[in-house]
Symmetry: C2
Amino acid sequence: MSAATTARDRARVEITRTIQDTARRHLGEVGPAALSLRAIAREVGMVSSAVYRYFPSRDELLTALITEAYDELGAALEVADAAVPADDVAARLRAVCLALRAWSVAHPHEYALLYGSPVPGYAAPDTTTPAAGRVTGVLMTLAEASERAGHVMAPTVPADPSERDALGGIRALLPLEVSDERLVRWLMAWALLFGHLSLELFGHMHRGILDYDRHFRQVVEQLVRDLGLTGDDA
Amino acid sequence: MSAATTARDRARVEITRTIQDTARRHLGEVGPAALSLRAIAREVGMVSSAVYRYFPSRDELLTALITEAYDELGAALEVADAAVPADDVAARLRAVCLALRAWSVAHPHEYALLYGSPVPGYAAPDTTTPAAGRVTGVLMTLAEASERAGHVMAPTVPADPSERDALGGIRALLPLEVSDERLVRWLMAWALLFGHLSLELFGHMHRGILDYDRHFRQVVEQLVRDLGLTGDDA
DNA sequence: AACAGAAGAGAGCAGTGCTCTTGCTTTCGT
DNA sequence: ACGAAAGCAAGAGCACTGCTCTCTTCTGTT
């Protein structure tokens, strides 16, 4: 059993980090699809084949970047969430939404890597799912908090009985019990947020929205309202 | 001036179509990023350089495919919309939403091409915007119809005065006057729909939603409700 | 029938991911 | 302490990509 970290071990993790960092920089500059393993190797100062000692394939490198990005985003959301009184769910949602957009706008290529079209041959391995769950987990935690606080949502369509089964996957991941109706509304919030960001970052709002920041805040306000997080309802 | 269509002209459009059709087939099979001009040429039965007589670059070919896809989707939505009584905006929205999802699920790669991360070096020229507008136009038409019908939306946050300017782009594209609040809600519907589809098609709902179809219908119902398209409000 | 222009073929350039072989160095077990 | 074993870097090479350039062939028009 040699748990001792040899010099080679240290060099390995260091070089691995160097590669991943340069990859990350390249990602931020040229985007996921244009990521070139050879270009990265060139900049790190080694020949392309040497990189394969550290990442068995370009996809593995992508996976590392994906996980890292998910974690970074998740952490940003958690920090934003924690910076606000825990019992003020409306404020927490606002903070999380703004943090989400701030990170996405600051890292559009990373956003595209996470939530854009999947890279062609690439199929995300299960390694990334926990990191990905960290992001959605923040929203789901808020959903639970809202349920616990007993917030009254805007007029909501009663969930079809079969909807309960349709939501089975999520429910298994949630510690707390949340009503179908509330779950649906929070899933809609989830889709709305990422839809908004995708449309904005991928250029589909270019001709329509003149002030992204302003409009986003309006949307978040409406979201807070629909979820019933403001004291006054209807 | 020879406006007469010579045999060569006819051959040209025919071959152009053949290339585009093969490209379209490949697109449906391997996705946008993996589209290979050489592979297409190979299948059409000519050498790669010959294709450049018809499409000056791979990007031009992509542009053609994008425009085509937008048009196809737009047409599908228009057909679905027209198949329902014009004065029943709720029914029209339901039909459009279901048609949107049906097309997207049937053509995931085309969806990714249109609404996923933009292709690396590629910047969509203005040629595609009218076709793209056709899709969003369907939704905006419904928004106008709803305004005209005087539907009362679910409790809505009053729009900040500055929001009016933020929405300037859209408003310039809309023939009818629609209130800021209603516009915001319909833009949210737009973002929600494409967010939902992106999350679904790009695999982010994989662990959470067991019955996509069922869940989507529930979401659409809630959407109809929030937009105030059902007779009974709150 | 002659000619100009369009179309196709092929070679070639620079780039990609990835594999395999060849040396070299560090580590580990005896 | 030394030899074996494992790890690492480099280079050549394969199959592929988009794209350009040249050369030839073919074809529609006058």
